[in-house]
């Protein structure tokens, strides 16, 4: 159980796919202009990552090494298509915003990366923990990024048509925040803050130990 929790936490903190491993950034920067979209993008990633990790780990002993990559891709693509069709059927508004980025989860490095680096070599329980941890870590970061970008890029946060938060009307939102360069700036700051916090924590641990 301890190992399970440790694996889960790693995805959130020291191995966070976005701020530490820095993989799967393309879709993240693209959809993080809207909190509502980021919310469902994160859920889709959690689902695909956990399910594909679980399946790959279950069959890891019978999947031949030589053809593992094609098999991984078929498994991942199937789960992505399930998400794609379900979202199209039940959440057309969200689907319209996320558009091409949902099918593109197939080639998202996080999912293939975890399948190859973790699920193929570990027990099912741990693979699920890794999938959930990585997925939730991804979700958290993309939500923070989307919150900052939507709030400062449009001046308000709206989820399912209802406005949750509005900046004073005197604030003129700079379009840059919603564009890719703005995403890079904000994401850069987020990485810097993550680094500073983890370095400080490491230093403190060292001081306590000595």
């Amino acid at each position: 159980m301890g190992e399970w929790i440790k694996t889960f936490k790693q995805g959130l903190s020291i191995e966070n796919p976005l701020t530490v491993l820095m993989i799967g950034l393309c879709a993240t920067l693209a959809v993080s202009t809207q909190v509502q979209g980021a919310l469902f993008m994160g859920l889709a990633v959690i689902f695909v990552l956990t399910m594909s990790n679980a399946i790959i780990s279950t069959f890891r002993k019978v999947i031949p090494t030589e053809v593992r990559i094609p098999i991984f891709i078929v498994i991942i693509a199937s789960f992505v298509t399930i998400v794609d069709l379900t979202m199209k059927a039940f959440l057309p508004g969200v689907y319209q915003f996320l558009g091409i980025w949902i099918p593109l989860i197939v080639v998202n490095c996080i999912i293939l990366g975890r399948a190859e680096a973790f699920a193929y070599h570990n027990k099912v329980g741990l693979a699920v923990a890794d999938g959930l941890g990585m997925g939730v870590g991804y979700w958290f970061v993309i939500l923070v990024l989307a919150f900052i970008r939507e709030l400062f890029g449009t001046g308000r946060i709206a989820v399912f048509g209802s406005t949750l938060l509005t900046l004073p009307s005197g604030y003129a939102p700079p379009g840059l925040v919603l564009m890719f360069p703005g995403a890079f700036f904000i994401f850069g700051f987020m990485i810097a803050i993550t680094r500073a916090v983890s370095e400080r924590a490491a230093k403190r641990r060292k001081a306590v130990a000595s």
Binding site: P70, A77, T81, L85, A89
Partner: protein, 194 residues
């Protein structure tokens, strides 16, 4: 031989299982997806042609003629908009001009004299916050209602574009221009009586 056979079997089995899973999902969702598409289309038609209650497909001949008139802009459907007692009140067109991120699917309402009654965007893949201003800046789509009856390209070109989304505005504009051409070439003859 034994080994390569094993590899083939592994991949084939995976693909067969995956395909059956997808077939089940597809079967479970396809009606709802079709329904969502139809609903979105119908809502947009009602929005651009508030006077009409029935939308009847104008038939393959009209559509083929409309496609020719539209030129390089795609026209995917033409609807006769009728009032409750079956009188023609206008036309609903589905046209798609090319924007920055792909086609901008417009629903264009024209009354029987060729005046724009309304325009909405059904789907688009424009940059959120920039290209999508063609929808969020409401004056942009509203201004097409000011076009005269039987408007032409030069009338459309006089209108304003949204600053910061020139390509997306051009995409919408090309759709409207195609609507004007379709009316002039095809629909004006069918609107009769006037």
């Amino acid at each position: 031989m034994g080994k390569s056979l094993r590899l083939v079997v592994a991949v084939v089995v995976t693909c067969v299982v995956a395909a059956s899973g997808l077939a089940i999902t597809y079967g479970a969702t396809k009606d709802r997806i079709a329904e969502q598409v139809r609903l979105a289309e119908e809502n947009s038609l009602k929005e651009v042609l508030p006077d009409a209650t029935e939308f009847v497909d104008a038939g393959p001949d009209v559509l083929a003629a409309a496609k020719t008139a539209a030129g390089d802009v795609d026209c995917s459907a033409v609807y006769r908009a009728e009032s409750a007692d079956g009188v023609l009140v206008g036309w609903g067109l589905l046209v798609a001009g090319r924007g920055y991120g792909g086609p901008i699917q417009l629903v264009l309402g024209l009354d029987s004299s060729g005046k724009v009654t309304g325009v909405t965007i059904l789907t688009m893949a424009e940059t959120p916050g920039l290209g999508t201003k063609v929808k969020s800046e409401e004056w942009f789509l509203e201004q097409f209602k000011e076009l005269p009856e039987g408007f032409g390209v030069e009338d459309v070109r006089k209108l304003d574009m949204v600053s910061g989304s020139t390509k997306s505005s051009r995409g919408v504009r090309s759709g409207i221009e195609a609507g004007g051409r379709i009316y002039a070439d095809v629909l004006s003859g069918l609107s009769g009586g006037e």
